[in-house]
């Protein structure tokens, strides 16, 4: 039987089991790397470096995970903090690597034109709206969970998601018809 995230965390805590932590990394690497790729506006190398830092930090601080929230919510919080610290250090974010974006995407599921417009529209959103939209609409977090990850009030998250969605809808109006 497959262990839950909480079960794997327990193994890491009790036995310092790095294989169990490896399983947690395997389960969540896609969503963490995907989130960072979009937060960094398509800088894949930077996103992967930040994702590695986030997982290593999660391992070192796993005793602070109390199981009150989902493991993924706790991990997104660490991930977002890693991104924010790096962005603060760099004071600037790099541009979108469009070719890499398109190489990774499956042309069967989403129209490449729509994908391009969607990613472009996302990259134009201010960081606070982009983060809220990505966490709530793409990664499926509740507003409450996103407020814990981003460390901002619940009302602010709702406003940011609403505003971000409105802007995306406006930009993608032609595709929605």
């Amino acid at each position: 039987m497959e262990l839950t995230d909480a079960g794997l965390v327990a193994r890491v805590l009790v036995d310092d089991d790095q294989h169990a932590f490896g399983e947690l990394v395997r389960r969540h690497q896609s969503s963490v790397r995907g989130l960072l790729r979009q937060l960094t506006r398509g800088d894949f190398a930077l996103a992967d470096d930040l994702a590695q830092n986030a997982f290593v930090r999660a391992y070192k601080n796993i005793r602070s995970f109390r199981g009150e929230a989902k493991f993924s919510t706790w991990l997104y919080r660490i991930t977002y903090n890693c991104f924010r610290e790096d962005a603060r250090r760099r004071k600037e974010l790099v541009g979108i690597n469009e070719e890499q974006w398109q190489a990774e995407h499956d042309p069967q599921t989403v129209d490449p034109g729509l994908r391009h417009d969607l990613m472009h529209a996302l990259s134009l959103l201010p960081l606070h709206e982009r983060s809220a939209v990505l966490l709530c609409c793409k990664n499926g977090l509740s507003h409450d969970e996103a407020s814990r990850v981003l460390e901002i009030p619940l009302g602010t998250v709702k406003t940011n998601v609403l505003r971000g969605r409105e802007k995306l809808k406006k930009t993608l109006a032609a595709w929605a018809q």
Binding site: Q18, V25, S30, R33, R37, V56, H105, T109, K138, L172
Partner: protein
């Protein structure tokens, strides 16, 4: 009125636009960066606990004049009326049983939630 379907459309497209990212050695790279487990500390912990307990016991024995207080207390116990002993045993049993029931109930509600 048609706000929800528009949200659903946007959410779906956002999820589809970034498909599953293959691991491609990412997990292995993370595991290489993890600090090595400190096994030494785990072996030391029980040794320290046992050592401290032995030291505390020895100190107590010496400071209490060879454990004389134990003999005194044992003597006192023999003078307690039998009815008191029975009442004390019953009360202890009830207390332990209540604790067990409470723990079982809270565990059950935790599992159900």
């Amino acid at each position: 009125m048609n706000e929800q379907p528009e949200h659903d459309w946007l959410d779906r497209k956002l999820q589809e636009a970034v498909p599953y990212i293959e691991d491609d050695g990412f997990t292995a790279r993370v595991l290489q960066q993890l600090p090595t487990p400190q096994r030494g500390g785990q072996f030391l912990r029980p040794l320290i606990l046992v050592g401290m307990s032995a030291l505390a016991s020895a100190l107590t024995y010496v400071l209490s004049d060879g454990g004389r207080f134990i003999l005194v207390e044992m003597f006192k116990l023999t003078t307690i009326p039998t009815l008191w002993v029975v009442a004390f045993a019953l009360a202890s049993g009830m207390l332990v049983m209540a604790g067990g029931i409470f723990a079982a109930m809270s565990k059950t509600s935790q599992i159900q939630s």
